[in-house]
């Protein structure tokens, strides 16, 4: 590949918003790139008004050969042709596409999910991208399987230092100090399996000898599923023990991560599983079931269970509540795992990747 003197590494994402994992990763990547000395802007076709100063519409993106465009891909969209017409050297940053079968056929995401995977296959055939970055080993494996030649795994997702520095609500910590708190963060959706957490909670109660609560943080993606969860809470006798917290603000969320005694994830699909890493950051022991990219995201941290039958899981959580040694062992692994997300490490990986596509 021809060596290239590059001044700018821009990013394109079809849509951006505040607060979701991919968008956070995009902003974090811009920070890294700027720190590495590149000019870097973010372009998006759909931007909320609150970000209109920071994110630009793609038509204003200069189309020069001596720049690199990082294209984020997480779902199908209409702008494939526009991307393919760019003169800049293109690198795909692949965030996982939630498989279509997790959505009913009439759901809009069902079609977009299928389309997203078609685009992956087409781009591979056309050689649209000089290189690909998977944000997890799981995602990279998918690209390699599709036949993409140059795939690197760089978790360009979370700004660990910024995360730890963010303000948090100390009152939350005080509110939950008197009990064993189990936390899960994620949209209320059938594939996130909050209902399995409720069943696990029911099994756990007889094993516990102190107050225990399950907090499900996350906005609702389906009214019927939320109704089902509320119904389950009533049916399983978990009123007062399990709470749907809804979408909480950042300060409360970081307070809850710190207040939680264990973070449990039984989700059947996680593209990356950002909350797992966030929980690890705040030294909250993480127990997760091995679905999708979870085992990969967990790495050497926390505890990964092969299946999510509620009884053994409840027993493991009861053990964790009683056995400080287990907790320490989990945390030791987690700290090791989190170091993979340190800024310097990520910058180094990113520079290596750019070098591989001929950026000098």
């Amino acid at each position: 590949m021809r060596p290239l003197k590059v001044r700018a590494v821009h990013q394109l994402t079809p849509a951006i918003s505040t607060g979701d994992g991919v968008s956070n990763g995009v902003f974090f990547t811009r920070t890294l790139l700027r720190e590495m000395g590149y000019a870097s802007e973010i372009y998006s076709f759909t931007t909320p008004p609150s970000l209109s100063g920071e994110v630009h519409f793609p038509t204003s993106c200069p189309d020069d050969e001596d720049q690199v465009l990082l294209v984020h891909h997480a779902l199908g969209h209409e702008f494939g042709d526009w991307i393919e017409a760019r003169k800049a050297r293109r690198v795909m940053v692949y965030h996982n596409i939630t498989p279509a079968h997790f959505f009913p056929p009439e759901h809009p995401v069902h079609g977009l999910s299928l389309k997203g995977r078609n685009m992956l296959a087409r781009w591979q055939a056309q050689g649209t991208f000089a290189a690909c970055i998977g944000d997890s080993g799981y995602n990279s494996a998918e690209l390699i399987e599709l036949g993409y030649p140059l795939v690197r795994t760089i978790p360009l997702l979370v700004d660990v230092d910024a995360c730890l520095a963010k303000p948090w609500n100390e009152k939350v910590l005080a509110d939950h100090a008197d009990r064993f708190t189990i936390l899960f963060v994620g949209r209320l959706a059938p594939n996130k399996c909050q209902h399995d957490l409720l069943r696990m909670m029911q099994m756990l109660l007889p094993h516990m000898d102190r107050p225990v609560e399950l907090l499900l943080v996350g906005g609702s993606s389906s009214d019927s599923y939320e109704a089902r969860l509320r119904d389950d809470i009533a049916r399983l006798g978990l009123q007062g023990y399990a709470h749907l917290m809804g979408k909480v603000d950042e300060a409360t969320l970081y307070g809850l991560y710190r207040a939680a005694d264990v973070f449990v994830c039984l989700s059947e699909h996680e593209g990356f599983g950002m909350p797992l890493i966030e929980a690890m950051l705040f030294d909250t022991p993480v127990i997760a079931a091995d679905f999708g990219s979870v085992a990969d995201t967990m790495g050497c941290g926390g505890l990964v269970v092969r299946d999510k039958s509620p009884e053994p899981l409840a027993a493991a959580i009861a053990q964790l509540a009683r056995n400080p040694n287990l907790r320490d062992a989990m945390l030791a692994g987690q700290r090791e795992r989190v170091s993979r997300f340190a800024r310097d490490r990520l910058k180094q990986d990113l520079a290596d990747c750019l070098r591989e596509i001929g950026v000098s």
Binding site: F79, V212, E213, M245
Partner: protein, 437 residues
């Protein structure tokens, strides 16, 4: 169970601990729920209102990024202008007012549409009301029909009840008679034994009521009655005249039954039976009794005098004898009156009807049509006789005047007198009561 990825964990020990935990008996009670969990708002704070149409158009325009970019800028410009206008109240309310003015014609249309709907609803209501009325009429008819049928059944039940009670009374009396006869028989046998086997012939009761007609004569007399007495419905209507008096006297109950002496074809019995009163007839004419019984009425074939003699004291509420006394010799009539006074309860009613000889046409003609008539009895004579045998409240009722079409023209003295003599009442009744004790 675990994916052994964390080098710091002793998975074997953990598995053992989990198994032990699974074996551990559960605590007696689950731990208490935490006292208070501050909950966040479930729904996100509402944003500025979004236009579904605008987002739809935006989604389509995304195929052409350049056009989409321009359109997007314009759209955001409009929204920014709207926000700016909202911040200036005077301008904002002017706009609202203008929009309201523009919407006035729409409002009028809306009212018109509402009026049409109201009219339609009213029409539907009227139709419903009409249907309801029809149903009501049908129901009313049905109710009347059912009522009518019910009344019919009640009437027939009443008649049946009266008939059965009449028969019960008769049966009871027959039983009494049998017991008396048995007693008498035993006495006579004892007497015979004591008198050395000599039989004492008991004198039969006075065979009074004229010469009893033979079977041939019975048949003849029925044919005669059918020919001359008048059709049964007419007779029924005539005799219904006495019904109020019977009920007023409290007669016709099982305790105070009515006996119709010489009941003939049973018209009077049928009227009483239909009114639910207990009554039975006595007649010596076997053919007449058979006809009466065939109508389901209670009648008893016997000689009137004999039958009366066998009845107990004060056992009847009323006695009627319609067109009977003119068949009896005077002494028998007197004896019959005496027996009637005996068998009637105090206050009991006596009705005697007979042709009125005050009418010359009756006295000279129609009376003699019946070959079994013995002699005409003037009303005064009969009333006197009844009173003299001990009855009280004796009344004479003149009945059944000749049809007025045959009368002389009213207004002249001769005509009036002749009308009285020739076409006046053809029958009379003497009605009396047995004195109260």
């Amino acid at each position: 169970m675990f994916l052994e990825q964390n080098p710091h964990i002793d998975y074997a020990a953990l598995k053992a601990a989990v198994d032990a935990e699974l074996q551990r008996p559960p605590g007696p009670v689950p731990p208490p729920a935490p006292l208070h969990t501050p909950l966040a708002e479930t729904s996100p704070a509402p944003e500025l209102p979004r236009s579904a149409m605008a987002s739809g158009i935006g989604a389509r325009l995304q195929r052409w990024p350049h056009v989409y970019g321009v359109a997007r800028k314009v759209w955001h410009g409009i929204r920014a202008t709207m926000v700016a206008i909202r911040k200036r109240p005077a301008l904002y309310y002017c706009m609202r007012w203008a929009r309201w003015l523009v919407s006035l014609p729409k409002l009028a249309d809306l009212f018109a549409a509402q009026a049409v709907q109201v009219d339609q609803q009213r029409a539907i209501l009227m139709r419903l009301e009409h249907t309801l009325n029809q149903h009501q009429t049908v129901l009313q008819g049905e109710i009347e029909r059912v009522e009518h049928r019910l009344n019919k059944h009640v009437r027939s039940n009443t008649a049946e009840h009266a008939r059965i009670e009449g028969q019960t009374v008769l049966l009871r009396e027959s039983l009494d008679d049998l017991q008396h006869a048995w007693q008498r028989f035993r006495t006579e046998v004892a007497q015979a034994n004591s008198a050395g086997g000599q039989l004492v012939a008991s004198r039969p009761l006075d065979a009074a009521a004229g010469a009893p007609l033979s079977a041939v004569m019975d048949r003849f007399y029925q044919d005669f009655e059918d020919a001359w007495r008048g059709p049964q419905p007419v007779i029924r209507e005539r005799v219904s005249h006495y019904l109020p008096r019977v009920t007023a006297a409290g007669a016709g109950t099982p305790n105070a039954p009515l006996a119709d002496l010489g009941c003939g074809r049973g018209e009077w019995l049928a009227v009483l039976n239909d009114a639910g009163l207990t009554a039975f007839g006595v007649d010596s004419n076997a053919t007449a009794i058979a006809r009466t019984q065939a109508q389901g009425l209670t009648a008893f074939e016997a000689d009137v005098g004999e039958w009366m003699a066998q009845r107990g004291d004060e056992s009847l509420g009323a006695i009627s004898a319609l067109h009977v006394v003119e068949h009896l010799p005077f002494e028998v009539l007197v004896r019959t009156l005496d027996e009637a006074l005996r068998v009637l309860r105090p206050g009991g009613l006596l009705i005697l009807e007979t042709p009125d000889p005050a009418n010359i046409m009756v006295a000279t003609g129609s009376f003699w049509l019946d070959p079994s008539h013995l002699r005409p009895i003037p009303a005064d004579l009969l009333a006197f006789t009844v009173r003299s045998r001990g009855f009280e409240a004796v009344e004479i009722e003149r009945l059944h005047p000749v049809d007025e079409s045959l009368w002389f023209a009213a207004g002249n003295e001769v005509g009036d007198r002749l009308n009285t003599l020739l076409y006046g009442p053809q029958d009379y009744a003497v009605i009396a009561r047995k004195p109260q004790r």
